[in-house]
Amino acid sequence: MSVIGHVAVNVFKESVRDKILYNLVVFAVLLISASYLIGELTAGQDVKIIKDLGLASISIFGLLIAIFIGIGLVWKEVEKRSIYTLLAKPIRRQEFLLGKYFGLVLTLVINVAVMTAAFYLVLAYMQAETPPNIRAAWPAPATDPAMLKAVALIMLELLLVTAIALFFSTFSSPFLSAMMTMAVWVIGHFNQDLRDYGATISSPVAAALAKGVYYVVPNFAAFDVKLQVVHAQAIPLRYLLLTSLYGATYVALVLLAAAIIFSRRDFK
């Protein structure tokens, strides 16, 4: 196994030791209890709401893991001073960093996969329990495979958030890294506003600046198709491919920047 692989597996094992996977139990309990409770509150919209809740939960749990584990990946090694031992071995700093990244990605992939499986199981149960005349009014079956498109884009978003968290953690404290990652994620949802800012202000400099930020800040809103898949709206393949390419390119950019900063960092 390559150096990157060894580091990645260790990160995954560490996350298991840190009981990160317990969130899966919370997710399952949340979804199952919601499917029982909300039926009475929603005037027949229980399946739609379970779909919304499931997809939002996959996204939220993934985000929490990506941010709060991601920011500690490098910092923990520095804090425990184990970084000196590690870097004394025949391992390049970039390999160490990529190993950390892929380790967390592995944790996230397993998390998202298990949450998605639990999500479909709950929906399959609800579908089986619903009379055919009610099912006929649904825009799509409860277990509509098209929802996997939203899950795939959530996963891509998590890959980018992890990369950003790791990037900040190469030069900043965990608290600041978490704040900055959160800030980038939030700003990334206001891209549309940044683009349209010019129409509401008179200063051309400010408008140009906002437009510049629009192009630079990651467009997290692009990864969100949850609403569309729940309502069985078509997501063109071109959109999926373009967004995937955008996400992958941005991840590569952030990881490269993180590797450059990390390689220049002085640990003395």
Partner: protein, 299 residues
């Protein structure tokens, strides 16, 4: 440091006192409010703000507002207080549909909640129309929303020209069912007769995806049956009068005359009531079908 046993006892006593006082407070009548003062509170009223604040969780926030809508409508409808107000119903529906423009049920049920006469609903068909038109802006080919618009004009505003126009528009949309075009024609020609009412409610009963809406349609169809039944029995009363020169004093007169086999019941099984002075037939006050809509224009 060791805690004094008296401290534990005081803690237990205070804990018991808090629960006891809370129990007492629960039994007290709630403090009244002046008439017209609403206790309904909505922190966020701006759909634009809600959309931005939701980040990528629009649908989930829309669900939360939808649950609040259902609770607000249901709670207000069932409340027995004098201050029954549906004042945040429209803002809640506006927020729900702004966060999730494809939330069809919010338009469909929301328009029913808004249009239904006070105190069963908000008694605001104008707001029902506004929310449905908003739905059509988001989904211009959704025939169900156009049909609902026609329904609001037909049932709650007795505006048959507009009702027929919306039924026709719905019929022009993709995947529209065949029965919409004849319904539009009947509505335009005979505005508000029982045939068009029956067509509407039968379709709602057949296609309803919620029990309460299906129950509502079944109830309305029973009312229409009761109105047909009343017309039928009144014709028999007129036959009796033509024969004897007077109105029957009771059902027994009609049975003895061979015009009826027994006491005629409404669709719920409750006997109709006969007015011997005028010969008019009506529902028994105990019937669950009361009050009946206008028999000439069954709104």
């Amino acid at each position: 440091m060791k805690v004094h046993p008296a401290a534990w006892a005081a803690l237990a006593a205070l804990f018991a006192a808090v629960i006891g006082l809370q129990l007492l407070q629960t039994r007290e009548q709630p403090l009244g409010l002046p008439a017209g003062v609403s206790t309904n509170l909505l922190y966020v009223r701006s759909p634009d703000f809600a959309r931005r604040a939701a980040l990528s969780f629009h649908a989930l926030l829309a669900d939360i507002y939808w649950i609040r809508t259902v609770q607000h409508y249901g709670g207000t409808k069932l409340s027995t207080g004098a201050n029954k107000q549906y004042d945040i119903l429209y803002p809640l529906l506006d927020l729900t549909t702004s966060l999730d423009p494809y939330f069809d049920v919010a338009y469909k049920f929301g328009s029913v909640f808004l249009a239904e006469e006070y105190p069963s609903g908000a008694g605001r068909p104008d707001q029902a129309i506004a929310i449905l038109k908003k739905g059509l802006q988001a989904q211009p080919q959704k025939w169900e929303i156009a049909q609902e618009l026609g329904f609001v004009y037909y049932w709650w505003l007795a505006d048959y020209d507009n009702a027929a126009m919306w039924f026709n528009r719905a019929a022009d949309m993709t995947k529209a069912p065949d029965w919409l075009r004849p319904l539009a024609a009947v509505t335009l020609a005979q505005g508000g007769n029982r045939t068009s009412s029956r067509t509407l409610w039968t379709e709602i009963e057949r296609t309803a995806d919620a029990d309460w809406l299906r129950d509502q349609a079944t109830f309305r169809l029973k009312q229409l049956d009761a109105m047909d039944g009343i017309d039928f029995v009144e014709r028999i009363v007129q036959q009796y009068r033509a024969r004897t020169g007077m109105f029957p004093t009771s059902w027994a007169d009609l049975i003895r005359a061979g015009l009826l086999r027994g006491v005629p019941p409404d669709p719920t099984g409750t006997p109709f009531r006969l007015d011997p002075a005028t010969g008019s037939v009506s529902l028994d006050p105990a019937s669950s079908l009361n009050p009946l809509p206008n028999r000439e224009h069954p709104l």
